[in-house]
């Protein structure tokens, strides 16, 4: 019952708020924060009580939810970040926003507690659709709506993998589509299911090659980014891979593929983050990179390490996005150069951001230093090359986090055009999240890292941050504009557009013309042929009768015309005609009268 309530409360309140719309705008913040509190309490309860529930949905395919160790961590993380985001947004948004956010979080709660494919797939897709509505929240701006569309379509493309996995699971012999059955099904179908799940998870987590949608997702309000990038949506992909880790290792190949995609994404998107000039784009690329570590952990078999990384990153990244949101509303910009000195202007925000950035950089003893080292250690267990790539990616996070930190804290004498007060409600969640970003790592520990690994990564992080400090000294920003390809997220968006979208649209247009001309044309030709046959039959069969009648009519008409001609109305013509007629008559009498 507690578990049903945990998922039903946010969903039902969310739907009610979204349907009520404007009418509920004034009440909405209070209702939402109240709901958030209830959800947090229920999540804590569920994490301790570990309930499991099930309800029939389809023919012998139930909806099952349960809270185990992994899910317990997830529900609490989701509820906590949700609470922070709700409080932060309370001073700015109305009913539609809170409704969608609660629905979104409710879908994530179902995702992380689902024990059957049906429950997982339903919540997974609802989360994608809600993210569309949240990214395109300011719907009068078509670009933002289009960005939401990119997010939804990209993730749905990957979601097809889940449909495939569900079918494969049933065909492979799992009667109830339980996720726990996955490693045990027939080996051919098991590979299909693993492939489907991996694609779906990589898409949701914005791993390569799907990363571009996360860049577009920045069009949404900042609190949405804070939620989407930390404990929900992108985290869902990583969570799913951690959840099905036994399946990945059972197939053999899937674990290797997942580990490498995670490691490469961590490195490459880390490099993308280093050169971004837009603070939110920098944070977005860093999300891909950090989630890459979680994916790497799932592939390398480090489920605990990956979970720790997920939680530490959730606290850190939601904090950083909320800070970016504060500056965006207060100062009207997210350009890192224009934001120079913003950290000093708003100390609560600036210090919180600083702690978050240092945690993101992997500086000890903050949380991500612990969790990332645990991940790297599990990578080292499976392959040295994987470890080396992971270490390089860790260095990248030092560089981008350091660069953002120093640009925001560097002294600046420039005046901001607009400068607004930051509401208290927007400040409160920040120190709490900063505390989480700082200390959560201790809870998870270093995993089975050896001492030199931890020292190496700490040294690397410090060197990278130092380099970032040098690169941004004075008015300089050494990396700015250095790599157009990296700045543009490897042009992945354009590639997907040209390679897939444009082709599909062209094919659709061609098929539509084919449909009009050939398919329907065939029908028209057939009916035309029918008409022609009828005409031919008509002409041949009815020829004699018809022509005869026409001939008679024509002759009669001609005679009539001839008969009209003498009637001119002039007397002398009539006399002449009478004379001729009498003469003819006389001649006839003379000729035939004798007989």
């Amino acid at each position: 019952m507690v578990l049903w309530l945990l998922v039903a409360v946010p969903v039902m309140v969310g739907v009610a708020l979204a349907v009520a719309g404007r009418r509920a705008d004034r009440l909405a913040p209070a209702v939402a924060v109240g709901t958030g509190t209830v959800v947090l309490a229920l999540a804590l309860w569920a994490a301790m009580a570990r309930p499991a529930v099930s309800a029939p949905l389809l023919d012998r395919l139930p909806v099952g939810l349960a809270v185990d160790g992994l899910s317990a961590v997830m529900v609490v993380t989701v509820a906590a970040v949700l609470m922070a985001v709700l409080v932060f947004s309370a001073s700015e948004f109305g009913a539609r926003f809170f409704g969608l956010v609660l629905l979104f979080a409710g879908a994530m709660l179902v995702t992380v507690t689902a024990t059957t494919m049906t429950a997982l797939l339903m919540s997974w897709e609802v989360m994608g659709a809600t993210s569309y509505a949240l990214i395109g929240f300011w719907w009068r701006d078509e670009n933002r709506v289009a960005s939401g569309g990119v997010a939804f379509l990209t993730t749905r493309t990957a979601d097809l993998g889940l449909y495939l996995a569900a079918g494969a699971l049933l065909a492979g012999g799992s009667g109830g589509l339980a996720l726990a059955d996955l490693p045990g099904i027939g080996s051919g179908w098991r590979d299909v299911a693993a492939a489907g799940l991996v694609v779906a998870a990589l898409g949701k987590s914005a791993q390569l090659p799907f990363s571009f949608w996360l860049s577009r997702a920045m069009a949404g309000p900042s609190p949405v980014s804070a939620l989407l990038h930390s404990a929900t949506m992108v985290a869902a992909g990583a969570y799913l891979l951690l959840r099905v880790q036994p399946l990945l290792s059972a197939t053999g190949w899937a674990a290797v593929v997942v580990a490498w995609v995670g490691a490469v994404t961590a490195l490459v998107l880390g490099a993308v983050a280093v050169v971004q000039r837009d603070l939110k784009q920098l944070l977005a690329a860093s999300t891909c990179s950090q989630v890459g570590f979680m994916v790497l952990a799932a592939g390398a078999g480090g489920v605990a390490a990956g979970t720790g990384q997920l939680v530490a990153h959730a606290a850190t990244k939601s904090l950083l996005f909320l800070c970016a949101g504060v500056w965006l509303t207060a100062l009207g910009t997210k350009d890192l150069h224009e934001l120079r000195g913003a950290g000093r202007r708003y100390p609560v925000v600036g210090i919180s951001f600083g702690i978050g950035a240092l945690a993101l950089a992997g500086v000890p003893p903050l949380s991500i230093w612990f969790t990332k080292d645990a991940v790297l250690s599990s990578a080292l267990h499976s392959s040295a090359a994987l470890y080396a790539v992971g270490l390089a990616a860790a260095a990248m996070s030092g560089l981008y986090a350091g660069r953002a930190l120093f640009l925001l804290w560097s002294p600046s004498d420039r005046e901001f055009d607009v400068e607004r007060r930051v509401p208290r409600l927007q400040q409160w969640p920040l120190p709490v999240l900063a505390a989480g970003a700082a200390v959560l790592g201790v809870v998870f520990g270093l995993g089975d890292s050896r001492w030199w690994e931890a020292v190496l990564s700490a040294a690397l992080a410090l060197v990278a941050v130092g380099l970032a400090a040098v690169a941004t000294r004075g008015a300089a920003d050494v990396v700015d504009g250095r790599s157009p390809v990296l700045s543009a997220w490897l042009h992945l968006d354009a590639l997907a557009h040209k390679g897939v979208v444009a082709l599909t649209v062209a094919l659709a247009g061609w098929l539509a013309r084919f449909d009009d001309r050939v398919v329907d044309g065939g029908v028209r030709v057939a009916s035309g042929l029918g008409g022609a046959v009828a005409r031919v039959a008509d002409a041949r069969v009815d020829w004699s009768v018809d022509r005869f009648v026409q001939w008679v009519a024509g002759v009669t008409r001609g005679l009539g015309r001839s008969a009209r001609r003498p009637q001119t109305g002039q007397l002398h013509h009539y006399y002449a005609q009478a004379v001729v007629a009498l003469a003819v008559l006389a001649l006839l009498v003379v000729v035939f009268g004798r007989g």
Partner: protein
């Protein structure tokens, strides 16, 4: 008179009364129509509550002598395949009655025509006799012809004629198949239950193939599937909104219903042998229909093509059910149940979409999507319902479409892996086209061809909202529906054997 016949013939009785009283005004005619449809829906609800199938598998069964010389009787009854469609018919006709409150052209005849069509549709779904089925099948074409020709847009006469001739041709093929079944049966009969029991064409390869081909073509034209679908877009584009809703929501189901009611169980061997043909036709309809819909610029034409896509899933599922071996009963049952669920779901969602398209046309005088923008600003109710209907139609979980398509996909994958995987693309392409439509029509800066865009009126909202609500109820709590369908699907799959 038995209760099922009352449900079927009540509307046409009211229609006759309406036609017989030329004095009554539009207002009275409108209300008579609404009340008659509402009472009929109420009776259907009563039927549903009291639904208790007997040993034959049917409830409310009646079998009376009709044309004894060819052993064709007035044999009617409902089971899990037909009851949901009967309910869908009653719901959609009531929605159309309420929606048409603003219709001002020859209201009395319009109401009578729709009531006549309601009887025809209900009659078809409860028919257990081929001749009875055929009579209703043909009358539906006649009724819809007059709806399109009499109350349609500019080019309605042409579209109506095309619709009539094309689907009439289909019904002739169907009749040929029925006669084939009749002749093969011994003793000769048109009774569906008896034909299914006899399985008259078992082991007669060529004859069975011919009869299946005749039935297949006849039903495929009505459904419609590729390549018999080209009557659909013009008929929809020119039909009045309520006519489109009934055409897509109910009349198309006659084709797909014919597959599960007649073609599959009466010709199980031939069905299994040629199942792959249906799978391929289904998959091509899914992908082709979605792609052509993606290329449309006209909102109503686009929805019309998505019907080809959605009906394609049904054909895929019934085809795949023929490929799956009988040891995989769960997958097979899922596919057939999914197919029936999809019929109900498509009726609700596409019915709502066509009514919304009608509201759009009433206000802007155009179906051209590019002529509109940002309608959410002036018409939030219209925008909300259109958005929900669009997401329902693209198969989002939480709506009925997902329940249907998920069952179809999950059930079919084992039997037809490649085809089913290709069919997945359908839900992606429909997602793309509906997102584009929503973005173009509802989002951005406000623009509409006729200036202001007033929000939905009370009758419009009252007719469309229940359809969406029902789609959500089926999407979240489908048991009440599936408990009815599943036993009937099991009967179909067990008859299929193999």
């Amino acid at each position: 008179m038995d209760v099922l016949s009352i449900v079927v013939f009540l509307p046409v009785a009211v229609a006759a009364a309406l036609l017989a009283s030329p004095r009554i005004g539009d207002r009275v005619a409108r209300w008579t129509w609404i009340v008659a449809s509402a009472v009929d829906l109420l009776l259907v609800v009563v039927l549903w509550i009291g639904y208790q199938p007997g040993e034959s598998g049917f409830a409310y069964e009646v079998d009376r002598r009709w044309i004894p010389s060819v052993d064709s009787g007035y044999h009617v009854g409902v089971d899990g395949l037909s009851l949901p469609l009967v309910a869908l018919t009653a719901v959609l006709f009531l929605a159309c009655a309420v929606y048409s409150a603003r219709e001002t052209r020859r209201v009395r005849s319009y109401a009578a025509l729709f009531l006549f069509l309601e009887t025809v549709c209900l009659g078809l779904f409860v028919s257990l006799d081929l001749i009875l089925f055929f009579v209703f099948f043909d009358l539906s074409i006649v009724g819809m012809y007059f709806v399109i020709a009499g109350w349609g847009h500019r080019d309605a006469a042409r579209a109506a004629l095309k619709f009539f001739l094309y689907t009439f041709l289909g019904s002739l093929a169907l009749l040929l198949g029925f006669i084939g079944l009749y002749l093969a049966a011994s003793p000769h009969t048109f009774d569906i239950v008896e034909l299914v029991r006899q399985d008259p064409l078992a082991g007669k390869g060529a004859m069975a193939a011919l009869v299946l081909a005749a039935l297949g073509v006849g039903l495929a034209i009505k459904t419609p599937t590729i390549p018999f679908h080209t009557w659909l877009p013009p008929a929809h584009t020119e039909a009045p909104a309520a006519g489109s809703a009934i055409l897509a929501g109910v009349l198309l189901k006659m084709g797909t219903y014919g597959f599960v009611r007649i073609a599959m169980p009466a010709l199980p061997d031939a069905w299994r042998r040629y199942a792959m043909v249906f799978v391929v036709v289904g998959v091509v309809s899914v992908v082709y229909g979605a792609l052509v819909a993606l290329a449309q610029r006209d909102f109503k034409r686009m929805i019309a093509y998505t019907s080809v896509n959605h009906m394609g899933y049904v054909i895929l599922a019934v085809g795949a059910a023929g490929l799956i071996t009988s040891s995989e009963t769960q997958a097979r049952d899922l596919a057939v149940t999914g197919a029936v669920t999809q019929m109900v779901s498509h009726g609700l969602i596409t019915g709502a979409l066509f009514l919304l398209a009608g509201a759009l046309y009433d206000r802007g005088g155009s179906y051209e999507m590019a002529a509109y923008s940002g309608l959410a600003a002036q018409a939030p109710r219209f925008a909300g319902l259109t958005g929900l209907a669009a997401f329902a139609s693209l198969g989002l979980p939480g709506f009925s479409g997902f329940i249907a398509e998920f069952q179809i996909f999950t059930g079919s994958l084992g039997g037809a892996p490649v085809s089913t995987a290709v069919a997945f693309l359908g839900i992606l392409i429909t997602a793309a086209l509906f997102l584009r439509a929503v973005q173009q029509l509802l989002m951005g800066q406000f623009r509409s061809p006729n200036g202001p865009f007033p929000d939905l009126t009370a009758p419009e909202a009252a007719s469309i909202t229940p359809l969406i609500v029902l789609a959500v109820v089926v999407g979240l709590f489908p048991r009440f529906l599936l408990d009815v369908i599943e036993p009937a699907s099991r009967v179909v799959t067990s008859v299929l054997g193999g």
